[in-house]
């Protein structure tokens, strides 16, 4: 390769522009919500193939341009495990137990629900968590005759904060982990501590916002205290099996870096084992409940982004970002974090992170042209950038009612229950919390990765 070719690795030819137009158009239609995002992703991906921007084998088999099967199988496997656990009643049990632990005190219950939601979101995905917590929240609010909206908003916000803590907590983290080959413990080590700090601030924030307004009568508290959470457990045998498999899977996540397993391998084994132990002869029910539209959305996006990576659009974008920050990594981290936060508040953070991942790798290639593989992906100076992306993209989801799938679900369920949460109302609480948590992250990233290094 000549020096000139290395400096100019792509040409802005017809292929470049075709791929760029497909990419921009797909993202514009996804944001506009005129057509379902999954259909847009599948159409965009197939156009990348039909117009020969990507060869089919590149889209299906190459890590660089194609579908990230590690992400896909991790998502599918976790969904299968949750779908098998749900009928046991464990989630109803946890929620009712939490409400009783709150002694029927409205704010105490809100705080405990926020904590439980954050922890569950860190271990499951956010969408699953709010799907499980929201119905019980509405029931508890009816029992106490209080307005459910503060509880629902609080749960949605807590789920996005909690989900930031682990590799499996939020889709951006799953995608980042797979692309940067980071393991579960790396997220625990770098993100979980600051998420704990954020949750402390968050509890003070909700106390300040809603603490004084929530009041109920003593006789209504009795409604909560008279509930018997044990009645929630419908299938104790299956519950035991599920908890054993879940414990194995979580242990597997903790150890997967050491044992050289990908997270998807661990999750797939758990899903297979629990399916076997469940003794079901009709796995199609469980498999049908996998959120296939989400899975296909991911697959389509990977191919669309693969197309623009191949033609060099992402490279061009990374050159622009580096020019903007003049190669200063602290500045780049901060730009990535805050830009990611606001971008994720406006658009789905999944397509955003799908685009940012290759962009960051490309920046790394330009800064350290001699490094490859893991040495490049996990270059000590690159790591804060990954964490900034994860923090910005996950926490940014709180910025608006459409910033995260969890918010969309909470708002939707609330409306169904006759309690509309307007876009502006959600934002009035979500945006300040987003800015608070991203500000904490800014301080954290600066202190931990930059302030004391030369």
């Amino acid at each position: 390769m000549t020096h000139e070719a290395a400096a100019q690795p792509f040409v802005m030819d017809a292929t470049f522009w075709t791929a760029t137009v497909i990419f921009v158009l797909a993202y514009a239609v996804i944001v506009s919500e005129k057509i379902h995002k999954t259909i847009v992703a599948i159409m965009g991906a197939s156009l990348m193939l039909v117009l020969k921007i990507l060869q089919q084998h590149e889209a299906f088999h190459l890590e660089e341009f194609g579908i990230d099967w590690n992400v896909i199988f991790l998502l599918i496997s976790m969904m299968i495990i949750i779908n098998l656990m749900r009928p046991t009643g464990i989630f109803e049990y946890i929620a009712i137990k939490s409400a009783k632990w709150g002694k029927g005190e409205p704010f105490r219950i809100m705080a405990i629900f926020a904590l439980v939601t954050a922890v569950l979101s860190a271990l499951l995905d956010n969408v699953t968590t709010v799907l499980l917590i929201t119905p019980v929240t509405l029931l508890i609010a009816d029992a106490l005759e209080v307005d459910p909206i503060p509880y629902l908003i609080s749960c949605a916000l807590a789920s996005n904060i909690g989900g930031t803590a682990t590799l499996i907590g939020d889709p951006p983290n799953i995608m980042i982990a797979s692309k940067a080959q980071l393991d579960f413990m790396a997220f625990i080590y770098h993100l979980a501590p600051i998420v704990v700090v954020m949750m402390v601030f968050y509890l003070f924030a909700i106390k300040f916002i809603w603490g004084r307004k929530l009041r109920t009568r003593d006789e209504l508290k009795q409604r909560i205290m008279q509930m018997n959470e044990r009645e929630a457990i419908k299938d104790p045998v299956m519950l035991k099996k599920s908890l054993i498999v879940l414990a194995m899977v979580l242990t597997g996540f903790v150890l997967h870096g050491m044992l050289h397993f990908q997270p998807a391998t661990v999750a797939l084994f758990g899903a297979g084992l629990l399916l076997l132990l469940s003794g079901t002869h009709e796995p199609h029910h469980i498999l049908a409940e996998v959120e296939w539209p989400t899975i296909f959305f991911f697959m389509g996006l990977f191919v669309i982004v693969g197309g623009v990576v191949k033609v060099g659009l992402i490279k061009w974008m990374s050159i622009q970002v580096l020019a903007l920050t003049q190669g200063n990594l602290l500045a780049t981290s901060m730009v990535v974090m805050w830009f990611s936060a606001f971008a994720s508040a406006i658009v789905d953070n999944i397509p955003y992170v799908a685009t940012m991942n290759p962009l960051i790798i490309d920046m790394a290639r330009q800064i350290w042209p001699d490094e490859t593989g893991r040495a490049l992906l996990q270059h000590a100076d690159l790591m804060p950038l990954w964490w900034s992306l994860a923090l910005g993209a996950c926490l940014g989801g709180n910025g608006s009612a459409i910033g995260a799938s969890a918010n969309v679900i909470v708002v939707g369920m609330s409306e169904k229950a006759g309690k509309r949460i307007s876009f502006m109302k959600f934002m009035a609480y979500g945006m300040p919390i987003m800015i608070l948590t991203v500000a904490i992250s800014t301080l954290y990233v600066w202190l931990r990765y930059y302030a004391f290094s030369s």
Binding site: E92, I96, L131, P135, V136, L139, D142, R223, E231, K416
Partner: protein, 162 residues
């Protein structure tokens, strides 16, 4: 036998804008036939007399049943007086927001078996019978079909013996 011969003619209808409170009042006082008062469902007609829906007891139960209870197994965690207080809460809702919009209808000259076909496949106990102009003429009840069946079962052997 045709739908026309078995249906009970209808004289009372609901409006989409009625509240549920108005509606249950009407259901309570509506005439079912010469003897009985009170029906479990009525068609909903718009101002032009066009059929736009049907409000049944089941629809009203669903309106009282909170949406979150259908999402999870929460039946064990309810309390005394919950149904009553939720019923008061939804009494101001409009009939339009609660009614079934996909109404099962049959033309008045439909053979009885066609009616049974609808009842079984669409899992309904009442069919709205329409006249030739497409206006609501009456209601065909499952139990009246059942009486036809019992009658012919019990009649048949006697005929053979004759």
């Amino acid at each position: 036998m045709k739908a026309r011969d078995l249906m009970i003619p209808l004289h009372e209808f609901l409006k989409p804008s009625n509240t549920l409170k108005d509606a249950v009042n009407k259901l309570k006082s509506a005439r079912r036939d010469e003897m009985r008062i009170g029906v479990k469902g009525l068609p909903v007609l718009d101002d032009c007399g066009k059929l736009v829906g049907h409000l049944s007891m089941g629809d009203i139960l669903k309106a009282v049943f909170p949406s979150y209870m259908s999402l999870m197994d929460l039946g064990d965690f309810t309390w005394d007086g919950m149904v009553e207080s939720l019923a008061k809460k939804v009494s101001g809702k409009s009939v339009e927001s609660v009614m079934t919009k996909q109404v099962v209808t049959v033309p008045e000259d439909a053979p009885l078996m066609e009616c049974v076909d609808h009842m079984l496949k669409k899992d309904v106990k009442r069919l709205i019978v329409l006249d030739k102009e497409g206006k609501v003429a009456g209601m065909l009840y499952e139990r009246d079909v059942f009486f036809v069946i019992t009658k012919s079962m019990l009649d048949e052997p006697e005929k053979k013996h004759r």
